[in-house]
Amino acid sequence: MSHDQFEVLSNQAVAVCAVFYFVAVMLHVAEWAFARSVAPARVAVGPDGEPLVDAAHQAADATGRTAQMARWGYVATVVAAGVHLVAVVARGLAADPVRVPWGNMYEFTLTATLVVVIGYLFLQRRLEASWLSPIVTGFVLVTLMVDVLLLYTPVVPLRDALQSPWLVIHVIAAIIATGAFTLGGMCSVLYLVKARWLERRDVAADRPAGYLARVPGLEQLDRLAYRTHAFAFPLWTFAALIAGPIWAQHAWGRYWGWDPKEIWAFITWVVYAAYLHARATAGWKGRQAAVIALVGLATLWFNFVGINFFFGSGSQHSYAAELVARTLGG
């Protein structure tokens, strides 16, 4: 296959995996919708106190359908992830010479979303975090759409500055950390939503359990969020504060130059460090910690999207705009 054909293959694979993600979202939404009708543990009771057979029957039926939807949703997600992987690999093979597919924002997003899905599939198998499924598949679908519509860049060879083994090391660590932080952020969002829901429910205790009944308890959410963040934080430390500076020293002659991208990577690091400290501090546990984690996620995404667009020309990391050679005037 020629390089051009690989590029076409990559683009088509992105479209195909988006369709599968869409199917997965639909199935998981259907799963939750079916589950909602059975979520209250009580079975509808007739006026004479006898359970309404019809209702019980219906509930059992719905439970079966829920499980089926969940299973098919999972299968669709696995298939989508496989096609997604093909898209990423083909993207790398499309370049001449062949290279790692992390040369610009489009490719970075393509890979980071794949990391989110793989991370989710891992959590799903190891920790039975199936309640994450609609959120993850929905998020990945929307992000892929944005990626294709707004960030798409045709395949071009890497600029000289990017041709270094440190590209592989620095960027893959950053991508995995970004994916894991994103998953952790989802847990933190659910934590906040669920905490709020529990508070409200105290007021109206007889309100039927909503969708959130499927989400695990606060303590478990908090623990999962912490574990995801604890996995991502050392990776981010390595990507932003070790591999990045070493490469910068090789390429630009300074290991830390307060470039906007570096500044925001540092800010992200400091905020997540605060998150880890907050979890160990009385009065900051739980809700405050979750908020800090989300602030960290916001700085992370801003660094990725915002810096390239708003500070583009001022940053040596500006790969959104295609600069042939950055020349320092003056």
Partner: protein
Amino acid sequence: MSTTTQQEREQRQPDAMPLAPREFGRWAWRQFTSMRTALVLLFLLALASVPGSVVPQDGVDAFAASQWREQHPDLAPVYDRLGLFDVYGSVWFSAIYLLLMLSLVGCIVPRCKVYLDALRAAPPRAPRNLERLPEHRSFATDEAPETVLERARGALPGYRAVSHEPGTLSAERGYLREAGNLLFHVSVIVVLVGFALGSLLGFKGGVIVVKGNGFANTLSQYDDFVAGKLFDEKSLEPFSFTVDDFDVTFITEGREAGMAHEFTADLTYRRGLDGEPQRQQIAVNHPLEVDGTKVYLISHGYAPHITVRDGAGHVAFSGPVVFLPEDATFRSFGVVKVPDARTRSGQPLQLGLEGELYPTYGFTMRTGPFSAFPDDKDPLISMTAWRGDLGLDDGVPQSVYDLDKSGLTQLKNDDGKPVRLDLPLGATQRLPDGLGSVTFDGISPFVKLQISRTPADWLALLGVSLALLGLLGSLFIRPRRVWVRVRRTDGDAGGPGRTLVEVAGLDRSSGGDLSTRIDTMAAQIKGAGREEP
């Protein structure tokens, strides 16, 4: 503090005395070294870093900073006073991170002591009621208590296990977690020291060298130079080099046409004042290193050779002139200053030329002149000419890339239109009024090099690597305590007694999965012999 009950506090309230200075100091220090203060300082640090990404920084891009100052004459003095052009060297930024470091030291030193004590201490005695612990299992067995305890010891590899009293076992593991935590925090200080040394003693300079020319490492040869506060000019390593050749390949076909790659510059360098000449090729990501000073290839451009003959027929100027690239097509801007020309009658005259270079000239009525390709396939210079006072004599330093037109008048043709010199390679064009001529003799590439030295970079790298190691330890090592208690119970109905075994665990960090661990441990203590067929 938190153990003080409401009642006690109320009792103390009436005769509460103002705190003695000593007590107040102790209280303040405790507040200052608390995690809460550290959290606030961390947030302040994150917040204080933001302006540096918005306002151009003197130390990062001096050119952008000076441009910003020109565009905002009202705001610039205010920003200057606030240190917003040098955020990371400003008083307030330094104050935040120094306070953070102080708070960190105040937190770490006592914890080191506590940790050393804990290292020597034996695991604590078993609590009286093991069933009150978060994870607790109990079962009965026919085996002797001693056998069970012995097996329990075997089921706790990596634990420090002690039997304080007969029938109990206390075990603890994960001592390295706190060590990792302490290592991380100490390493942060090491990084800061390394970084501070680098920025105080290091320097970073830029120089543009036209192919064929040389450079000697002295301050006067730099185009721009930024050094740390403690940098000593005498510490510049004496070395010199010439740029023998520069090569760049432009992709000529396909979607990426015009993109440059494979930049290489061939240098001949001498170590010291009279070292042996050595040759080395440098490229992006492959600098030249001479005694700790590194020479990086940053960018490149063109320097057309221009000769200006004056009205008297003498060569008033001749040589390569650096034109700075303005865009990806290498349309470049440059200035020629001719301070010592003479008119035909011998009067002194200053001439100035300014204009653009198009490496591969193209022209359409719609776009005007443009550069069709970044390579110098068909170069053309298009310049306007000026006469008068170049302003070189008033002592104010001037940019060589900028013509100060306040004392200059533009040369015009007979028809009153400004003179435009459009010179393809090798062409000569006369200036009006017999002022002389301008020739485009040739074109050479130039390279922009960055020459820099960051002492103690190894210290910063060591620090950050140790910090990562400590971080991994503090996040993934699980400190855990396990207690086992065995008790002999009398058999009912005169039968043989049984041994009641209790196993309980406590995770001293969050995020662990204690319950499955305790389950397997209980199963192991039950022993293989008891497995039902």
